[in-house]
């Protein structure tokens, strides 16, 4: 008979061992899934995890990895602060769109001014846009006690409508012969989020993600605010006793995650995407939730998880095109990853004991 026994304190070994274990179990279960679909499981797994990095076309896929990982990491870092404090921002996708719109809006407003100030102003506007969008659930929660999960999630759909309206209306390219979508910022050097080192995929958003990882690490491990964030999440009553004001924490956490998501949207619209279009957002804001948990809500873990997630995206696309795996199978595979992570997470706080049933 299996029994679960609570550990006196969380196991440090398992805290770090569960993510790799979850990845391994996902590979096995995913392999079984691919085999059931009639594909060679070893090849499918290799296509997803190995070929984008070391395969024949790695020179193309490796930069893609950074381009896809950067927004995931940037958003997930912000979300992780809130998740640690028990503030559940599920609407990063909406804040990502809001940041892209304000960032691109500033860039388009200055067109065709050729000045170095344009890009920094866009960065600022992007962060502010995401922050403002996140302030809506934050203030509603603090003032009226609304549920931030619902409000932030609903605002995603509002943001999507706003995006469509902008792409079709005020931000539409005047020279675009009536097609939806804004001017392409790649053709406007002062506003373009270009690669810092050409051919690497390393754009300013990647730099911002690295900085965010470092700052979040310092905040959580060294600063009183980081301590309060952790305290509020683990023991809300003790946090209040300590002097933490819950409302202030809600505003800070939602604001930070909104600003970072807004930044991610702005870097995306000014770089890899290039323009405001109806289908600009591809779900980074939602995937970042998985990334945050996969990375144990720890900044370094999130960086690694973001890269892993980006890899499954790129590898998944590759497997779709080269092996003909259905898209649903790839999504299932990604879902398994989160599922198994949460499942093996149990080992951190519990010990599994095998015990023979005693004679009654």
């Amino acid at each position: 008979m299996l029994r679960l026994e609570k550990r006196p304190q969380p196991s440090r070994v398992w805290t770090w061992a569960t993510p790799p274990l979850a990845v391994m179990i996902t590979m096995i279960a995913g392999g079984a899934l691919f085999a059931a679909l009639g594909k060679d499981p070893a090849e499918a797994i290799a296509t997803i995890f190995w070929k984008p990095l070391f395969g024949e076309f790695a020179f193309y896929y490796r930069p893609q990895l950074l381009i896809k990982a950067a927004p995931l990491i940037l958003i997930a870092i912000g979300l992780s602060l809130g998740f640690r404090a028990g503030v559940w921002n599920i609407g990063a996708e909406g804040q990502y769109i809001a940041g892209a719109l304000t960032g691109a809006g500033v860039g388009l407003a200055f067109y065709p001014l050729d000045s170095w100030v344009v890009f920094p102003l866009m960065v600022l506007a992007g962060a502010l846009g995401g922050w403002a969008w996140a302030m809506i659930p934050a203030l509603l929660k603090v003032r009226f006690g609304t549920n931030e999960i619902l409000v932030s999630l609903m605002l995603v759909y509002v943001a999507e409508q706003l995006l469509a309206a902008m792409a079709l209306g005020p931000m539409r390219n005047p020279d675009g012969r009536g097609f939806p979508g804004s001017r392409n910022l790649r053709d406007y050097p002062a506003a373009h989020n270009a690669e810092i080192i050409s051919g690497t995929g390393m754009h300013w958003g990647v730099a911002a993600a690295v900085i965010a990882v470092i700052l979040a690490y310092v905040l959580l491990s060294r600063h009183l605010l980081g301590f309060h964030i952790r305290l509020a999440g683990q023991a809300p009553r003790a946090a209040r006793f300590s002097g933490v004001r819950p409302g202030r924490l809600v505003v800070i956490c939602l604001g930070t995650s909104g600003a970072l998501a807004g930044l991610a949207g702005m870097f995306e619209v000014a770089g890899p995407a290039g323009q405001v279009s109806i289908d600009f957002n591809v779900g980074y804001g939602f995937t970042a939730i998985i990334v945050a948990f996969l990375g144990r809500l720890h900044p370094v873990g999130i960086a690694l998880a973001g890269i892993l997630m980006a890899l499954t995206y790129i590898g998944g696309e590759m497997a779709q095109s080269t092996l003909g795996l259905p898209a649903a199978a790839i999504q299932l595979f990604q879902g398994m990853l989160l599922f198994f992570l949460l499942a093996v997470d149990l080992l951190t706080n519990y010990r599994v004991r095998f015990r023979h049933r005693e004679a009654a």
Partner: protein, 505 residues
């Protein structure tokens, strides 16, 4: 003489560190109301949980109408004719009365028939209740009727009631008593748990008094004066207070007109509390749990804020300030609940030292945590208060209750508070640790700190307090010097017989 219904013979139940029941024996006769009387922590709850099959006794036996009775679960107890009405109700607000009753039954009849049965029972026993009403709309008294009717539908022989009047208005109490008398006239026995002496005198035929897990006596309440019962309940002797009241300094803490609505459904409203504590003085506040202790602590720690003037520290209004600001000014507190309130269970002792020590122990440098300093502060607490733990990097939840309590008290005491408020300083702590904590409080007062000690342990309060007051339903009695206080006076201050006629109107 009526026949014995339930015989309890030397029931014993021990929990780690405490013997909840030590060879308790008594009999309940058919058709009587039998009171189980005792202070909080005297072992009343454990005893009835054993009778109701929720807890298994370590040793001893019970018999019901002469047949051995050892219920393995509440449903076994119910099948044998034992029912229980709990102090906190387990009802779903969104369901109707009849639906709630059906949920508690093993094989509920169709709702329409059940509703008819509920009407019938409620009329027979004088408990007005409409089975179709939504439970969320009912008053506390009506909710209790739902629970009682749920029990009555099982046609019990013995009904256990855990402090049933604590949620009732005086009028509802009258209705309840009428019902209980009607039940007993039909031969149903009632085991009635309470600490309200006047109530017991009005209702009960016999009383068994528990103190520290032991049966310390039985009596016939109608013929026994309240003060005699209080004496048995509290214990005939108090340890003499340690030394006479020392020369108290000027007023350090002053509360005036503190009234608060109940913060939650199970909370207690505070009503016009006023007190002063002088430097070097210990004011002990007694009272049965749930009479406003947690709320009073929260209002002093800063977790609940009030108008500034309501709480004054050395004459300065601090009622509007939060916990961190009050701590900075020297008002420190240690709440009752160690895990989750005074300390974060999954955090290390170093992190828990930072939890309240950040400011006064200078553990911060421009907002950044000086972890080395926090660690050495934790180490100091561990060393000075003899906290048994592998080290400051151990999670708080890995410590035993007594050791964590020593850490929590030590953390505040070592910050040299001007005023220290503590709730249940030695609750669930072994004797040696409790003595160490009490000594620490006495030493702190000797250094000039004003101490407000809230506790349910009367012996403890009599040992350390200079003055004593009691909390009762959110009201605080006037404080009186502890030295001259007799046992019965303390019992009555706590039990609510004191000035309660006025309060109930």
């Amino acid at each position: 003489m009526t026949a014995n219904l339930l015989r309890v013979e030397s029931l014993t139940k021990a929990y780690p560190g405490v013997i909840a029941n030590d060879a308790v024996s008594f009999d309940i006769r058919e058709g009587e109301v039998h009171a189980l009387l005792g202070e909080n922590g005297a072992g009343k709850s454990t005893l009835v949980k054993m009778i109701y099959g929720l807890v298994k006794p370590d040793s001893g036996s019970m018999s019901l109408r002469g047949a051995p009775f050892a219920p393995a679960s509440p449903s076994a107890a119910r099948a044998a004719g034992v029912a229980m009405v709990f102090q906190h109700f387990s009802l779903f607000d969104a369901l109707s009365v009849a639906e709630n009753v059906a949920l508690g039954m093993e094989r509920p009849p169709p709702l329409r028939r059940l509703a008819a049965r509920i009407r019938e029972v409620s009329e027979t026993y004088g408990l007005p209740l409409d089975p179709d009403r939504l439970t969320g709309d009912l008053s506390a008294g009506e909710r209790q009727r739902v629970e009682i009717i749920r029990c009555l539908l099982q046609e019990p022989r013995l009904m256990i009631m855990d402090e049933p009047t604590s949620v009732l208005t005086p009028q509802e109490v009258e209705i309840l008593f009428e019902t209980l008398r009607r039940l007993t006239s039909e031969g149903v026995a009632i085991l009635y748990i309470s600490h309200k002496l006047e109530e017991i005198r009005a209702l009960c035929d016999h009383a068994t008094i528990l103190r520290q897990g032991r049966n310390v006596g039985t009596c016939t309440p109608r013929e026994t004066p309240a003060r005699e019962m209080a004496e048995m309940m509290v214990g005939a002797s108090f340890a003499a207070p340690a030394g006479a009241a020392h020369a108290a300094g000027e007023v350090a803490l002053e509360i005036a007109g503190l009234s608060l609505p109940a913060p939650s459904a199970f909370g207690t409203a505070l009503r016009d509390i006023g007190l002063t504590v002088r430097q070097g003085e210990i004011l002990g506040i007694g009272g049965v749990a749930g009479n406003g202790q947690d709320e009073l602590l929260a209002a002093l720690s800063g977790e609940i804020t009030t108008k500034g003037q309501v709480v004054r520290l050395h004459g300065t209004p601090v009622g509007h300030l939060g916990p961190a600001e009050r701590r900075r000014r020297g008002l420190l507190a240690a709440p009752e609940e160690r895990l989750g309130h005074a300390a974060a269970p999954d955090m290390t002792l170093t992190e828990n030292a930072l939890l309240t020590g950040a400011d006064r122990e200078e553990l911060l440098a421009r907002g950044f945590v000086r972890w080395g300093a926090a660690r050495s502060f934790a180490e100091t607490v561990i060393a000075r208060f003899d906290v048994r733990t592998p080290g400051p990097e151990t999670a708080a939840r890995a410590l035993s209750g007594g050791n964590l309590q020593k850490f929590v008290i030590g953390r505040e005491v070592l910050q040299r508070p001007e005023v220290f408020v503590v709730n249940q300083p030695t609750w669930g702590v072994d004797a040696a640790a409790a003595a160490a904590i009490r000594q620490a409080l006495l030493d702190l007062a000797a250094q000039g700190t004003a101490i407000l000690c809230i506790s349910q342990d009367l012996d403890e309060l009599m040992e350390i307090s200079d003055r004593f007051a009691a909390l009762n339903e959110g009201r605080l009695s006037p404080a009186r010097p502890a030295a001259g206080l007799s046992v019965e006076e303390v019992g009555l201050m706590m039990g609510g017989a004191h000035d309660m006629e006025v309060a109930h109107v």
